[in-house]
């Protein structure tokens, strides 16, 4: 419910915002700039803040249920999403809003009646509470992120199964995008499985891998060397044409590492070397 007094106060704020537009806007931009420190260009920041400012003035006139408020919410939503993608923290984003209060407050022409003094104290206290509120929000977001990071980690382990193909032969199918962390986990798991199962052959199948760069290649090479030190041989299978092209252009050399076109070929190779002979079932 809106009383007459509220409406009058709103009008006064809007009027003040308009009259001191350049000062308030300038100060608003400055406060945000201090928080985001060079991660957004001054020009960009000024342009987007000016847009928000016009909307904020209209909100001051129309109140929180007007069309301007909807528009402002939309604009802030876009801004938050893009900032989040750029890696800004919730506080750094929220400052874009709260800082207008500070900027306006600093630009109010104050007398020094008791009432105004009390009002100023209230504003200062309100700023402190805003900070505390942001702190709870920041903590909440950090806790959520931890949960997500934990889930990502357990997914990482789940998605790297080392399977036994035959007595003495294990295989690991690599799938998707290999980042350093994942490749490391896969390779460690593989080496551990070699030890646990006493296997002599390991097939690393990269059919499902999107790209092999020098980092992935280095992990592969290191794993092969480590496996050799443990008396096991690695076979790399499933190098697709586009990956082969890229590896050659990059200049990576796999040296004397055995590579096979398919996982089946690799298994055949390992079986043969273990002296396993598979007979075809005779046709009647």
């Amino acid at each position: 419910m809106e009383t007459k007094q509220d409406a009058a106060a709103q009008g006064a704020i809007a009027e003040l915002l308009r009259r001191r537009r350049d000062d308030v806007l300038g100060r608003w931009v400055a406060i945000i700039a201090a928080t985001v420190q060079g991660r957004i260009t001054e020009r960009e920041l000024r342009a987007e803040t000016a847009e928000l400012f016009e909307l904020a003035v209209r909100v001051a006139e129309e109140g929180p249920r007007g069309a301007a408020a909807d528009e402002l919410r939309g604009a802030l939503g876009d801004l938050s999403r893009s900032r989040a993608r750029q890696g800004f923290s919730p506080t750094e984003i929220a400052v874009s809003v709260f800082a207008l209060k500070q900027a306006l407050y600093e630009n109010m022409e104050g007398g020094d009646t008791d009432e105004q003094a009390a009002y100023r104290q209230f504003i200062e206290f309100s700023a402190v509470m805003d900070d505390l509120g942001l702190h709870t929000f920041e903590t909440y977001a950090a806790a959520r992120e931890q949960v997500i990071a934990d889930q990502a980690e357990s997914l990482l382990e789940l998605s790297t199964p080392v399977v036994k193909l035959w007595e003495g032969i294990v295989a690991v199918p690599l799938i998707g995008t290999l980042d350093s962390a994942r490749t490391q986990v896969v390779m460690e798991t593989l080496l551990q499985t070699l030890v646990d199962t006493g296997s002599e052959y390991a097939v690393i199948d990269i059919t499902g891998v999107a790209a092999v760069d020098t980092e992935v290649a280095q992990h592969l090479l290191k794993t092969v060397v480590a496996a050799r030190l443990m008396g096991a041989e690695c076979v790399i299978s499933g190098i697709r044409p586009q990956i082969a092209h890229t590896i050659v252009t990059l200049g990576i050399e796999f040296g004397d590492i055995v590579t096979k076109a398919t996982l089946a070929d690799a298994l055949g190779y390992a079986l043969e070397h273990r002296g396993v002979v598979l007979g075809e079932k005779r046709e009647r």
Binding site: S180, A210, A211, D213, E215, H245, T249
Partner: protein, 136 residues
């Protein structure tokens, strides 16, 4: 040349390198590059993004679609950092040379993987690398 919507991605962690790779793959697919060319530009981007992270101390990548004006589409990627810069470009572009513990093939290999490669770096002035891959 005209560009249609560039994507800017900060590079500050290993996850960001993966993000750059994904953005490049998406853009390369949209520009209708062949599978081989897609894989090449993604791999080159992976190398350059990782160098930006490791040697440049972080920076950003800018991925954009370009058109030759002759009906050929391609993608251009800029990598920029404010790191220490590269004191000896020839040395850095030598196959097998690394100041860290890599294979020393990322920079030179990335240059071979793309159609256009320009490197702008000086000690203390950071590094900017732009690469372009055209569709056939």
């Amino acid at each position: 040349m005209t560009d249609a919507g560039a994507t800017e991605i900060p590079i500050g962690s290993g996850d960001d390198v993966v993000r750059v790779r994904q953005a490049v793959r998406e853009a390369a697919g949209a520009a209708k590059l062949s599978l081989v060319d897609q894989t090449k530009i993604v791999t080159a981007a992976s190398e350059l993004a990782r160098n930006t992270l490791i040697y440049g101390g972080g920076g950003h990548a800018r991925v954009e679609r370009v058109d030759s004006g002759l009906g050929r589409a391609g993608i251009r990627i800029l990598f920029a950092d404010e790191g220490p810069g590269i004191p000896d470009l020839d040395l850095a572009l030598t196959d097998g040379w690394t100041s860290g513990n890599g294979l020393g093939l990322g920079l030179s290999g990335a240059r071979r993987l793309v159609d256009e490669f320009s490197l702008d770096s000086a000690p203390g002035a950071g590094t900017r690398i732009t690469v372009v891959k055209w569709g056939r």
